[in-house]
């Protein structure tokens, strides 16, 4: 079939140069020496001005981490990471802790965010956009948060939105109460490493009955070479609260791979709702599989209160390796968890991603919709667990995993685990794998669409359910991103 072959060839030739976030910011940075030991951890903790208990927690995690082994069950392969050959802390000199406002931030940094299209100046945002579409941004550059916008406005509503470093200084008791309560420090190899060396991330606290007045978002940028980024984010929604949070990620194009090992914890109390969306566009490596981010992420939400709800939406287009399973612990009765995912892999990318829905409470329900698209020489795996414990009466799950293959050199895999220990639990699981149908292609071509346009159109139709879950602005952006990651030249 020459027509499809042509598309495949074009996808194979994808010009990775077009990764438009691949530039490097030349900025003086303040780094910890290379390597990992207790002194480095003390250095990080001191840099962030942390209290003693936090340092102790970090050291405890580090000691546990030394006894742990890197997991090997995921369908990803990469050269062994030398954890002593990395920088664990790097911060632009004029940024972070101690700065009074945006004016004190290095102009190079501001220029970087401008280039990335991330609005850091509140007035500019106000000028151009309808107030209801306002987004508060926390910008994390390597190991530190550069600035958090709209903090004061949010504070009026009672919402705390700041970097986790700042939260540890300003709201230590609140952080102490929740940090590590969803992802325990020795949860897994990468989470434990993160607990020892985490650099920055966001902290969100929405008090009882408050509906967060705007979208919150964090923008992660890795800049420095050989530097690991260890994001740590904690979001707490008290009784009846609501918050929608979005994270975006990019990194420069480099020949060496870089590590991003994040931990995100969500806590939803009675009647609270957290909507967490990710558009992950880390540098995926070049067409031959050189470079790219290793993305090892532990994301977990705890539906602690009755009728609470946590919804994960992810659009994964970047990273050389993705190892990520945003999960929900449905502890409260009548709580609900959702996972909507689009994972696109091309070239040599490897994705092993999915979710866990752990039904503990009565009448809990969950929904998983996962759409994988593999092209080039990539491997794309959905791995998921749905389980109902003894007491999870009337638990409900619906899972749908669909994979689309473009080209014959890639792989698509589905590895679901379904465990029911409660007879009244009703689980439904469906999965399909196929390629774009020849009939659909022919129909589109007959109407005058080009091969690339036709593929982009069908793929966008395939992922539409998921994209609709994203906040409007990001939905449009994601659609473009999907076309770019697959096609290279579709405009």
């Amino acid at each position: 079939m020459p027509a499809v072959q042509e598309t495949v060839d074009r996808v194979r030739e994808i010009d990775v140069e077009q990764y438009k976030y691949g530039f490097v910011t030349n900025i003086e940075s303040d780094k910890a020496p290379k390597g990992l030991n207790e002194d480095i951890i003390r250095f990080i903790s001191a840099k962030k001005g942390e209290l003693e208990w936090m340092l102790e927690t970090r050291l405890d995690a580090y000691r546990r981490w030394l006894t742990m082994e890197e997991p090997d069950w995921a369908r990803v392969s990469y050269p062994k990471i030398d954890f002593n050959d990395l920088y664990y802390y790097s911060a632009p000199k004029k940024s972070g802790y101690g700065l009074k406002g945006l004016d004190e931030v290095d102009p190079e940094l501001l220029a970087t965010y401008e280039k990335l299209g991330i609005p850091l100046r509140e007035q500019e945002i106000l000028a151009g956009v309808e107030p209801k579409n306002r987004v508060a941004v926390d910008a994390v550059f390597d190991s530190v948060s550069v600035i958090t916008t709209f903090k004061e406005g949010l504070a009026k509503a009672g919402v705390i939105f700041c970097s986790i470093s700042e939260a540890l200084r300003e709201h230590p008791d609140l952080v102490k109460k929740y940090l590590g309560s969803v992802v325990p420090i020795s949860d897994n190899f990468y989470a434990t490493l993160n607990s020892a060396v985490f650099s920055d991330g966001s902290f969100v606290y929405v008090p009882e009955g408050v509906r967060c007045p705007m979208e919150l978002s964090t923008y992660f940028r890795i800049n420095e070479q050989n530097t690991g980024q260890f994001e740590r984010t904690l979001i707490v929604a008290e009784k009846g609260a609501y918050v929608s949070y979005l994270e975006g990620c990019t990194a420069p194009q480099r020949d060496e791979s870089q590590l991003h090992a994040a931990v995100v914890e969500l806590v939803a109390m009675e009647d609270a709702e957290i909507k967490y969306s990710t558009v992950q566009n880390w540098y995926p490596g070049d067409a031959d599989g050189r470079g790219g981010i290793y993305n090892f992420v532990t994301k977990r939400g705890d539906c602690r209160g009755v009728r609470s709800k946590i919804s994960w939406t992810q659009v994964e287009t970047g990273s050389a390796i993705t190892w990520k399973y945003p999960s929900c612990i449905l502890r409260g009765d009548d709580s609900r968890g959702e996972f909507y995912s689009v994972a696109i892999s091309n070239c040599h990318q490897q994705i092993d991603s999915g979710t866990k829905m752990i039904h503990l409470g009565k009448n809990t329900s969950s929904r998983i919709i996962s759409k994988g698209i593999s092209a080039g020489k990539s491997q794309n795996t959905y791995r998921g667990l749905v389980s109902a414990h003894r007491k999870a009466s009337n638990a409900r799950n619906f899972t749908q995993c669909d994979n689309l293959l473009i080209g014959q050199d890639c792989g698509a895999h589905t590895v679901p685990y379904i465990e029911s220990k409660n007879a009244s639990a009703v689980f439904e699981h469906e999965a399909t794998t196929s390629k774009i149908s020849d009939d659909q292609m022919f129909y589109c071509l007959q109407r005058g669409l080009s091969e690339e346009e036709a593929v982009a159109l069908v793929v966008n139709g395939f992922v539409r359910d998921i994209i609709q879950q994203l906040p409007m602005e990001f939905a449009v952006e994601s659609q473009k991103l999907i076309s770019i990651s697959l096609e290279g030249s579709v405009g």
Partner: protein, 253 residues
């Protein structure tokens, strides 16, 4: 110069080599409406697919000139750009892609190919609404995924809407009447008739005469066992209606 010239066209199914068309000759001039009738399995749909460039068929002999140019080496999208439109007997469903999105994508790529700018969204919406109204297509239907869950009649109306929007020079209608009740047939026929013009030709493929009551052809052909075995005026269709295809089935073999 004729708009379309088919000369001694032989084709077979690529997968198993079954011969379908065994020497079709047909000339269609701008402004003409040709009807191609024939019994089941005579090669009517194959002819439409071969004209549109479906890959499952292999041309073993003959040529097809469209505007004087051999199109057999062209991809389906290139033929579409050149002005060829096939109204499918079974329109394809594309889940997740709203009909309106599809229409816009198709129209803009054709405009681009013709050196025109993309139509601004308000103008496009106005144009679509106007044409959709003629085809009895509601704006709700335009928002639904293309052909997904459409009834037989809705699918065919959507095909004609696309035809009206893309303004091709040659329209090939493959069994457009199948699955239509009389009211839907009228809507579809009116849509097609509105597109008749001195610059545009049509090939109407059908098994039954009833469609030709509504879309009156200039010339009627009978296709049997992969060959055109008889050509005549509109009255040929009436004769077929009366006597059936029995007289022609043996002729080509």
């Amino acid at each position: 110069m004729a708009l379309l010239e088919i000369k001694n066209l032989h084709t077979r199914i690529a997968e198993d080599g079954t011969e379908i068309l065994r020497g079709v000759d047909l000339t269609v001039n701008a402004g003409e409406v040709h009807a191609i009738m024939g019994p089941n399995g005579s090669g009517k749909s194959t002819l439409s697919y071969v004209l549109a460039g479906k890959e499952n068929y292999e041309v073993t002999e003959g040529e097809v000139l469209f505007n004087g140019e051999n199109i057999l080496e062209m991809g389906p999208d290139e033929r579409a750009m050149a002005g060829m439109f096939l109204a499918f007997q079974y329109p394809i469903e594309i889940p997740g892609v709203a009909t309106i999105t599809f229409l816009k994508a198709a129209l803009n790529s054709q405009r681009k190919a013709r050196g025109l700018d993309e139509l601004p969204t308000p103008d496009f919406m106005k144009l679509v609404r106007e044409k959709a109204k003629q085809m009895n297509i509601t704006s709700d239907m335009l928002k639904r995924p293309l052909n997904v869950g459409f009834s037989g009649g809705e699918k065919k109306r959507s095909e004609i809407l696309q035809m009206a929007l893309l303004e091709p020079t040659l329209c090939v209608l493959d069994e457009t009447d199948s699955g239509l009740d009389i009211d839907a047939l009228k809507v579809v026929s009116n849509g097609v008739n509105a597109l008749r013009s001195p610059e545009r030709a049509m090939i109407v493929i059908t098994h039954y005469q009833r469609l030709l009551d509504h879309i009156v052809p200039d010339i009627v052909h009978v296709l049997s066992a992969g060959k055109i075995v008889k050509t005549g005026g509109p009255d040929l269709a009436l004769e077929l209606e009366k006597n059936g295809y029995a007289d022609y089935i043996g002729e080509a073999a």
